[in-house]
Structures are given as C-alpha cells and as structure tokens.
Symmetry: C2
Subunit: 265 residues, 2 copies
C-alpha cells in the first residue's frame, strides 16, 4: 500500500462506512497518542507530519511505536490536516482498532457501572458521556442500536482521550435485559416522566444506566428492559436536560453513593 493510498484510506475513516468496514478509527493529536499508548490500545498505524510534530513526547512515542513494528506513515503538513480538520494540528495521528465485545461474553464485575445508550444525535454528547464514565471509573458503553457510534470524529474529539480505557459492547434492549438478569445487574432507565427521584434508588449493586436519545427518550423495548425508571428533578418550565448532562448527573450519583464524602477515597 503506497503512502498516498494509505492517506486516502485514513481520510475515509471520517465516514461511518469506512470505520465499519475496516473496524478501525482515526484520532489525532498528542493527547490521544499518549492516552492510547497508556491504555495499551491496538494502534495499527501512526501518521506523522515531521514538520508539525514539535512535541518531544509525541516524537518519542511515535518512534517507540515504530520500533515495536507499528506502521508509520510520513505525510506532509497539508496531508495531515486533510485527515482531520483541526485548528492546531500537532503533527501526529493514530489509526486504532475498534474493540467491541459481545454483551453475552461481558462479565459484570463487582460494583460495575455501565452506560447503555439507545440513540445519540450529537456525537459530542456521546463523547462527553464517555469522558464522564472514565472520570467515575465506570466500565464502558453498551450501544443499544447501530446508530450509536463512539468512533465518530465528533465523539472522539469530545472524549478528550477518554475512550481507549473504555469497554464497548453492543446488544439489543432484550439482550441487555437477559445479560443483566444473568449477572444480577440492576437496569436503571432515565426518563423525564418517571415517578422516582434518581436519588431514591440504591446503586450499591452492579448497575447499568439506560439513556434514550436527545429527542424521544427511551423506546418501549428499552423501558421493558429496565428494573426501575428514574427522573432527574427539574423545576420551572424545563422539560429536559442536555443528554450528556443528564447521563453525567446519574453517573455521579452512582459514584457518590459508592464513595460517600469524607470517606477514604
């Protein structure tokens, strides 16, 4: 594969189709390179624009990857910018293999916390949620439909690097329900019209939080998978929160109950 062809193929990773076909994604910038190496992510190639790569850490990591046998693709500054439009290109990017697990084979660890999402219109919201799942030490994401794509460039950007430590599983709401029963995981859905305050549920057991989409909320199938549906109280005329905010408030409630303030954290 010639250099030019490689670059064109990587550029295509901006599309869902190419990401699905290759099972990879592209992330650019030193922050993502560092996070990927730290997490032992399956990096398939490193793209380097020598003229732009000023970061000493970036240079060192790119060199180490090359020595480990990871393919390095050298490009010009303008070629790199075409791969991923960025205001401040840092001269390095990586092609990484997507790691998906089947829900059937996922074990639910002690005190696990998963986030299941049915639909996301804004990739930024999805990436922001992944960032929060890392902050609270949650396990990862269950994508309840094909429309949920954590490797969309907008989602990747919003994670700020918090995606290489995440676990990703796919399954239908029915599969989620079966998995949760088998592993004694409590399925907690979120809906603005629920009767139960999200703070009135105990999150001591392993839990999976289920979010619908920005517009329609959970589908009937997702609701059926839930052991309990909670609402985040809102006052005034507000009828909804930003999806990433709602999910993050729930994730912090789970974390907070498990790590009371003043305790040894």
């Amino acid at each position: 594969m010639s250099g030019a062809t490689s670059v064109e193929r990587i550029r295509l990773l901006q599309t869902r189709r190419a990401r699905d076909q290759t099972g990879t994604f592209y992330a650019d910038g030193v922050r993502f390179l560092v996070a990927a190496v730290d997490a032992g992510a399956p990096i398939e190639a490193v793209v380097v624009a020598p003229r732009l790569l000023k970061s000493a850490v970036g240079q060192m990591l790119a060199r180490r990857l090359r020595m480990r046998g990871v393919r390095e693709i050298r490009v010009g500054a303008d070629e790199l910018e075409r791969l991923s439009p960025s205001r401040e290109p840092q001269g390095v990017g990586i092609v990484v293999r997507q790691r998906w697990e089947s829900l059937a084979t996922v074990a639910a660890a002690h005190a696990a916390c998963w986030l299941a999402i049915e639909e996301v219109r804004s990739p930024g919201n999805l990436g922001t949620l992944l960032r929060t799942t890392e902050a609270v030490g949650a396990s990862g994401l269950v994508a309840l439909s094909r429309s949920v794509d954590p490797f969309d460039p907008g989602a990747i950007r919003a994670t700020m690097g918090a995606l290489f430590t995440r676990r990703f599983a796919r399954g239908s709401p029915a599969e989620l329900s079966a998995w949760a029963r088998r592993h004694e995981v409590v399925v907690v859905g979120a809906s603005a019209d629920a009767a139960i305050d999200y703070r009135q549920v105990s999150y001591a057991r392993p839990v999976v939080l289920v979010l619908g989409g920005e517009r329609k909320g959970m589908s009937p199938a997702a609701r059926r998978a839930c052991d309990v549906v909670v609402r985040i109280p809102m006052v005034g005329r507000t009828d909804s929160l930003n999806l990433a905010v709602a999910g993050s408030v729930l994730l912090y409630e789970v974390w907070s109950q498990r790590h009371p303030p003043g305790g040894l954290t």
Copy 2:
C-alpha cells in the same frame, strides 16, 4: 427601514459585534418563540416566512405579537434560512433585547444560586449550562469577562429555549467578591486541584458557583474571589470533565442539598 435591510441587519446578529452594538440577539424556531413569550422577553421583531410556518401555535403567537405592536418582518423561505442555518427551519424567528444587570444592583434572594463563568471556548457548553441553571431553578449567569457571550448563536441553540428566564449580570472577579460579601453570598470555585470534595460544602446559604474556562481553569483573580474552592472527584487518568458537565454536577449538588430526596418538593 426596508424589509431587505432589516433582514441583512438581523443576519449580522450572528456576529458578536452587531449583537453588542444593537444590544439584541436573534433566536429561531417555534420553541424559542414560545419560551420568549412565556417569559415576557423583550421581543423587538418577529421574522415570519409564511410558507414555512406550519405550527399553529407559532402562527398564533406571531399574530398576537403583531397585534401588540411588535414589528413583523415577512421574508421568503430562503431569506429566513440565511438568518440562521437550521436543518429544519420552522418559519419563524425573533429579535430579542439582551437584558444585562449590573452586579452592583443585583439583590441576592433567599436561597439564590448564581453561576459565574470566566471564559468559555465552546458556546455550546455555555448554552448547556444555562439550560441546567433553569432546570435547577438557579437565578442566572454572572459573566466575569467580556468573552462570555450567552447570546452567541451556538450558545442560544444549546439552551433549547432556557435563556429567556435567566438573569444576566456582568462584573469582574473583584466586583463579584464585593457583591458576595455585601449580600452574604458564599463564593464557591471549582478546580480539579482543590482539596475539598464538592459534597463536603454546605450550600444552604445563597451561593455563586465560579467556573474558569475549558483549558485553564480559574484565574488567580477569580480564585481570590472564592470563599472555598472545591473539586469534583475523578478516578483513573482523567484530569478534567467537560465544562458543562462539571458545572451541572455542581448545580445539581446545590439543588440536591436544598431538596433532599423524599422531602416535599
């Protein structure tokens, strides 16, 4: 002022300069029209594209505003779309006067909660935060620098309409500090390197939460204005949360302490 000129002037409200010069902003869509009318917002003009305006509520509100003497500007569908690029134009938009208060004249009501922000790079984050302030019944926003513009189109969009009920004040960190002392408002800053867990502070008294920016956090001047600086705990390698998420988690903690679960809310 001819119709064409009006449209051009409204289009310019996408720029900060024109918003500052006129003291107005433009919001489009039926949701924003409804929210503005409900909140008694100072609507200066209604822009209607009759061919696109299918909503019966939208038509009725536009008519009522016209009868109350609000200027109506009729435009073609393509003209309306030039005012505010939208995937699903709904045929109506409004020009609204910005209402800013001087911090010196703001009274701090019983159980008030304000959000003060020093800098925002993403207008979407600012709009999302305004949406959460409405959800928890907080008073509004204190802009600690000129760079904080809640009437940026991206911010407006992210509020989903939750901006007409908000109060907006401007002031420097020093003015915030003086105001807080005068009204016995506790100033609580947020920083990833603070020692105190955000849940260990009592938010029973009137409070103003201070956020820095996405990148640099609070400036020294803002830190000096704070009575206490708290952190939101994070595990693993995460060193920060999305700004809108961090602010929203804090706003919900304030709300949550004031409205314990199971109580009469």
